[in-house]
Point group: C2
Chain length 459, copies 2
């Protein structure tokens, strides 16, 4: 970028919204991967028109543009690896524009924080289910760009299941609308369908219309303790196949249980092979009881030695404590965490965890696992000593083998975090050359000059 580009961008969207000073370049050079790439300028568009102006300008001059929400992504999706500008949408474009109670939709700008939206709609008795672990700080725009999941996916699905309509700006500055405020809309190609999860590589999303549900009136929490992780994984898929419909079906393996216990001394069953934690929701007690009875039956039939039902919200919080603190606790196993979010068909969970154990032994690394087993999504954490280069290398080899096992079991490289930069090298493992070529052609259909988040997704 030239100095004149900065000047022109300032003219286009206002002096105070274009920054090329060192502090801004540094502040917008990171995301949750801790990788580091500096943008040449950081832009704070005020509205869709600003986004359009910036894109048209940058497209003509082939300046890379990287849209960014909270920068909380785990795969480098928001990193400006080829310089250019970061389009920071969280500063000004962060309004909940409308909560339409009549049609049960919310219309938001991309910079709205997920949890803020959840809280706001719940005040009206409504419910926005997608709840990524980053919900307190990640933005809806980022959630849409990465097609974020969360704990409630087993029952309620993921971000794509709630996106009814989008407004977005193409690299040429053209504003497009996709979808309607209706469940049914089959006119034209499903642009919203392909923009969700496109990691900022196709268009800059400027407005999102989300489907809302009625908030269920009741929730209960249960926990099962299992001697082995295999039995717990059997209980997961057999419960769901047997008619249970829990909101969440979370799991901690023995390594994770022990880590949380070591850190917090909560009296957890440190000899257990695994714990399953599940939330059930509904509108009437009898429905909750019906669901709990199903879980109790399938848990016990599959080896559960204990089954607890939280009697109140304090007990529920106690049960959830271990899961909520899993991620930070496992740092006892190593200063560096290589955290993957692979997902396999639920029935393959027992096989998958056996393989992870084998791989841990083979590469002499510790791999605590926990996560959203209700949808087959296991957070697989290879813990290594960050100072020990040889161990870190073994860790990455373990990850590669984990990816291979995942693909062989019919699973995916990423259930939640996207591909971005960090999983890009593995795209060839998961996709054929023909599929990758199609991705490139789709990319070019939206972004012929490859200015939008270039170099991501292995394209």
């Amino acid at each position: 970028m030239k100095k004149s580009d900065i000047q022109e961008l300032r003219r286009l969207i206002g002096e105070e919204n274009v920054h090329d000073d060192r502090p801004h370049q540094l502040a917008y050079s990171y995301d949750a991967t801790r990788d580091h790439y500096e943008p040449e300028a950081v832009l704070f568009p005020r509205n869709e028109e600003d986004v359009s102006k910036v894109l048209r300008y940058c497209n003509e001059r082939r300046i890379p543009v990287v849209p960014r929400g909270a920068g909380s992504g785990f795969t480098g999706g928001a990193l400006p690896i080829r310089g250019g500008v970061v389009l920071a949408l969280e500063r000004h474009m962060n309004r909940i524009k409308e909560i339409d109670l009549k049609n049960m939709v919310a219309v938001v700008e991309p910079g709205v924080i997920n949890k803020e939206l959840q809280r706001e709609v719940e005040r009206h008795g409504l419910f926005y289910p997608p709840d990524p672990a980053s919900q307190e700080y990640s933005t809806i725009g980022g959630n849409v760009a990465e097609n974020a999941g969360g704990m409630r996916a087993a029952k309620y699905g993921i971000t794509k299941d709630y996106v009814m309509a989008l407004r977005a700006v193409l690299p040429n500055g053209e504003i497009i609308r996709a979808g309607k405020r209706t469940i049914k809309d089959v006119a034209g190609y499903n642009l919203a369908g392909i923009l969700v999860g496109s990691e900022g590589t196709l268009a800059v999303i400027t407005e999102i219309t989300l489907r809302l549900l009625s908030k269920p009136r009741l929730t209960k929490t249960v926990m099962g303790v299992f001697p082995t992780v295999g039995e717990a994984m059997n209980a997961v898929y057999k419960s769901l196949a047997g008619g249970a419909n829990p909101v969440a079906m979370e799991f901690l393996d023995n390594l994770t249980i022990r880590a949380v216990e070591e850190k917090f001394h909560k009296g957890l069953p440190v000899d257990a092979g695994a714990i399953l934690i599940s939330d059930i929701d509904g509108n009437v007690e009898e429905e909750i009881d019906y669901q709990i009875a199903l879980l109790e039956r399938f848990f016990k039939e599959n080896g559960a030695t204990q089954f607890h039902i939280a009697r109140n919200s304090r007990e529920a919080a106690d049960i959830w404590f271990a899961r909520r603190n899993a991620s930070q606790s496992i740092t006892i196993y190593g200063s560096k965490k290589i955290n993957e979010d692979v997902t396999v068909p639920r029935s393959e969970l027992p096989r998958y965890l056996e393989e992870v154990e084998r791989i841990a032994q083979k590469y002499r690394v510790t791999i605590p696992c926990f996560g959203h087993t209700g949808d087959g999504n296991v957070h697989t954490n290879v813990m290594v000593d960050g100072e020990n280069r040889e161990e870190v290398e073994r860790g990455y080899k373990a990850i590669e083998e984990i990816f291979r096992v995942t693909i062989d079991l019919g699973g995916t490289l990423s259930g939640e975090h996207g591909i971005g930069l960090s999983k890009a090298p593995f795209m060839k493992m998961a996709f054929t050359e023909g599929e990758l070529e199609l991705f490139r052609r789709i990319k070019a259909a939206f972004d012929p000059n490859n200015i939008l988040n270039p170099g991501k997704m292995g394209l």
Copy 2:
């Protein structure tokens, strides 16, 4: 096509699977629109490999290929308007390949009949919700190509909400896979998302993996009678916004009620402005009662003069009789039906139906309406005397104005039937030139030679 093309296609997929005789050309020249375009040849591929061979061959020679399921579409999507070959998938590629009880998915070939799949999964206690009115004969492949809806959409969504993974063949013969047997999969672009509803213009779908649910154990049917259609439409959106979650929320207007009564003498309330019919499902009686109490409250608060709860399945069938026979009964108003499936945000239903009444008067045509109001989808039927050219013309003018009103109210040209041929002229009303240009570029990314279902969707 030359004679040598037929010979080569015969060599590729077998003598008995390639037909260029008159009976075949005629048999595959129609769909539910009753428009008529003859293909040069009709092909019955036996498997994905056959599809790949045919596409590669036709792509090299620029021969149009039109994939076809049951030919039950309402917009001409399966009509070979530029000749070439019809790829008839219902003959050989009609197997349910797998019902995976562990992961609750079904894997099917495109030619499987929707209802056949529903019946088969229900035998295992599972449930495939999308239920287009054509369910007894339309194919899953066609349902995916058109993103079919149905009555259960208000609670359970539409076809796209059940497609977890696809296999498809690109025009160059390349086989692509999209999605996984997992709820979460965010690796690469969401190809399944854009293939759903693409009306056979991007790729030929050869295998579909569908998400299944547990079959709810109980269902009840209720009916409300309203003095005016406006009150009924208020009851629809207020019930849903108020926490009711009915499977279906169907409506009949006064013209439709009278038509059914005239034909079948069932004792329907012929003076009513509208009837609402709703199914409630769940696993426990108390949940059903809770939902029915909500509906009763919102129906009565919005003017319902009667509220019936079916006491058994015979009474439920009686209530549903009027709705099920609506489509055939309204033919009393005219020999030709111009049937549109416009959809508006639910809160706009009262306004929409007022406008339809105004348009009916303006163009001196009869427009009975019924349909899936739970998701804002109103089947709007302009009935005219097919022999009276001037009246038919007025009918089409009315339709055009109905489309304009729909778009103005934030609705869509098509909630269920797609664009195909018959709605293609209205694409410019619904989309900007920039959006249409993007559609064309996406089409070219998949199908650079424009051989797949060319000339459809107004592209």
